[in-house]
């Protein structure tokens, strides 16, 4: 079977023709152009930006500024100053929960999240709720693991100050109807926070017209390097918020008794910026645009459909989440009598890399009634050979564990819609 020609763009995949990398929801592989861009930055333009009055530092400043513009454009944000570079989604969400939350939340206020959330969009809100005496509310799911909009409508009320949810669930791949969810929060004036970690890599985001106040994302999941990500926010909210961290680049005046802050985006970027990785992320945006996000999603969905079909045909396989057309590149499943961890070991023997575990989503796992699932996630470099290897691997695992009939404690109740 001929492999996806895009593998050639990714040095790690090109060097390992037999590797079936199906863990892109955890982190994507990096195209050569991204690695080249970072290296070229360090070899040609490296200096501390903003701070130097010499030409090399001006070049570093320009590179950083251009990277911000490029990433903002990729996400459909025309006001690039409203893009704050962070280490990634986790830091972006902590920034909002901490800086906005501590300034605005009072006893009796309510924060609503969904049962689909990654810990990064769950625990920061839970903790700020505890700290501020607010009520922390978890919106339940439908039987096919989508956010239950009817339930959400009853949970959201005038005391709701924050509504936080993900664009796409990392554990199940569920694509959430951002506008419909946001509208429910808007009706009561809540802050709308969208965790885009799994959205930005796969779906075209148009921040200017998306009805959310904050959108958080990670570079490393969208072909960019580790160590960089961002937070898009509405200007008026960012300007009214106190800073998150304090230090160089984010101040205006430092008196002994008090300090004043720089303008956006600097106010939220304390310390030496991560220019190298920002340049890498901008190159990742170029790369993704050269492929076209629409064709990325179409490609993934075709593989997800195929994998879903073939896995479903195997006895004992249970697939979680809604139907493939409502999912991005994720297939989360279990095999009766085989713990996901053991399944992963068997698959790994054939170079098939899947994720086995809780996917940083313990609240969801509790609601699914499982301690772990197996998750295969697809991206633009995957192909049918990957699907076949996955399916073969599951069959092989069943052979290895043959005779190991279900035992009671292993029984995984399959409540997946598919």
């Amino acid at each position: 079977m001929t492999r996806n020609p895009r593998r050639a763009d990714f040095p790690l995949l090109a060097a390992n023709p037999d590797l079936h990398y199906l863990d892109s929801a955890a982190t994507s592989q990096k195209p050569r152009v991204v690695l080249d861009a970072m290296r070229e930055y360090y070899e040609r333009d490296n200096a501390n930006p903003h701070r130097g009055a010499y030409a090399l530092s001006a070049r570093a400043t320009d590179r950083y500024h251009a990277a911000r513009g490029r990433v903002a454009q990729f996400l459909g944000a025309s006001d690039a100053d409203c893009l704050v570079f962070t280490r990634g989604t986790t830091e972006s969400l902590n920034l909002v929960a901490s800086a906005w939350g501590h300034a605005n939340l009072r006893e009796g206020d309510e924060i609503v999240v969904t049962a689909l959330e990654h810990h990064a969009n769950f625990v920061p809100w839970q903790q700020v709720a505890i700290a501020r005496g607010a009520r922390f509310v978890v919106c339940p799911l439908t039987s096919d693991h989508r956010v239950d909009l009817d339930a959400l409508r009853t949970l959201v009320n005038p005391r709701t100050k924050v509504l936080a949810f993900n664009h796409v669930s990392n554990a199940l791949g569920t694509v959430n109807p951002v506008d419909r969810i946001a509208a429910i929060g808007r009706a009561v004036g809540a802050l709308i926070v969208c965790d885009g970690a799994q959205g930005a890599p796969h779906l075209r985001v148009a921040f200017d017209t998306l009805d959310v106040d904050f959108y958080a994302f990670s570079g490393h999941k969208m072909c960019g390097p580790m160590g960089i990500g961002g937070l898009l926010g509405r200007r008026a909210i960012l300007e009214a918020m106190p800073p998150y961290q304090f230090g160089g680049d984010m101040i205006e005046f430092v008196r002994d008794e008090e300090s004043t802050w720089a303008t956006l985006p600097h106010k939220f970027e304390a310390g030496t910026p991560n220019v190298g990785d920002a340049v890498g992320l901008a190159a990742a945006c170029d790369y993704l645009d050269s492929v076209g996000l629409d064709s990325v999603l179409e490609h993934e969905r075709a593989l997800v459909r195929l994998a879903t079909e073939k896995l479903r045909a195997i006895d004992g396989v249970c697939i979680y989440g809604p139907k493939p057309s409502e999912r991005s590149g994720v297939v989360s499943f279990s095999v009766a009598g085989i713990h996901p961890h053991d399944l992963s070991t068997v698959l790994d023997q054939d170079g098939v890399c899947i994720r086995a575990g809780q996917h940083c989503a313990q609240p969801l796992m509790r609601r699914l009634g499982v301690s772990a699932t197996a998750r295969a996630s697809f991206y633009l470099y995957n192909d049918e050979a990957d699907v076949d290897a996955l399916v073969r691997g599951v069959e092989r695992a069943k052979e290895v564990f043959a005779g190991s009939e279900l035992n009671e404690n292993e029984l995984v109740p399959c409540r997946g819609a598919r």
Binding site: H339, T345, V346, S371, F401
Partner: protein, 149 residues
């Protein structure tokens, strides 16, 4: 035998399927729990200890075949043993699963069913699955009797 068959020997699969000493111990005077948050594995060990000897032991677990089988075989191997015996046995077991020493035939015989875990050495990421029950057992042995009663 492939690495995989070596890891998932029938002895291990059998203990996974029908674990020994599974459940809770009514007259336990020591207990401990261990967790691996990243993969979701959990093990609980309950003991009855008298005169520094393990009189009885039971466990419960939610986790992979390796950890469940390891717990099951462990509980069989440690009955009647002292804390020092357990530490020594775990040392041997740990050397085995990390592949540090290949046990002699005699040593392997002394390990009994524990020897089935030699295949883990080829799967470094699974070492912690096999060792976890032992860490929990050691924690239980060191736990304050009064506190866990």
């Amino acid at each position: 035998m492939s690495d995989l068959q070596e890891l998932y020997q029938s002895i291990i699969l059998d203990h996974n399927r029908r674990p020994k000493n599974y459940g809770s111990l009514d007259e336990a005077n020591r207990s401990a729990e261990g967790r691996n948050p990243s993969c979701g594995d959990e093990v609980r060990v309950e003991l009855r200890v008298a005169d520094d000897r393990i009189e009885d032991v039971r466990f419960t677990s939610a986790g992979c075949a390796v950890s469940r089988a390891a717990a099951s075989i462990m509980t069989q191997s440690v009955k009647g043993k002292s804390r020092a015996d357990v530490d020594k046995l775990f040392e041997q077991f740990h050397s085995l699963v990390t592949g540090k020493v290949r046990p002699s035939e005699q040593e392997a015989r002394a390990l009994g069913e524990l020897a089935a875990f030699a295949g883990v050495a080829r799967f470094p990421i699974r070492v912690k699955c096999a060792s976890m029950p032992w860490h929990v057992l050691q924690a239980a042995l060191r736990s304050d009797a009064a506190a866990s009663e």
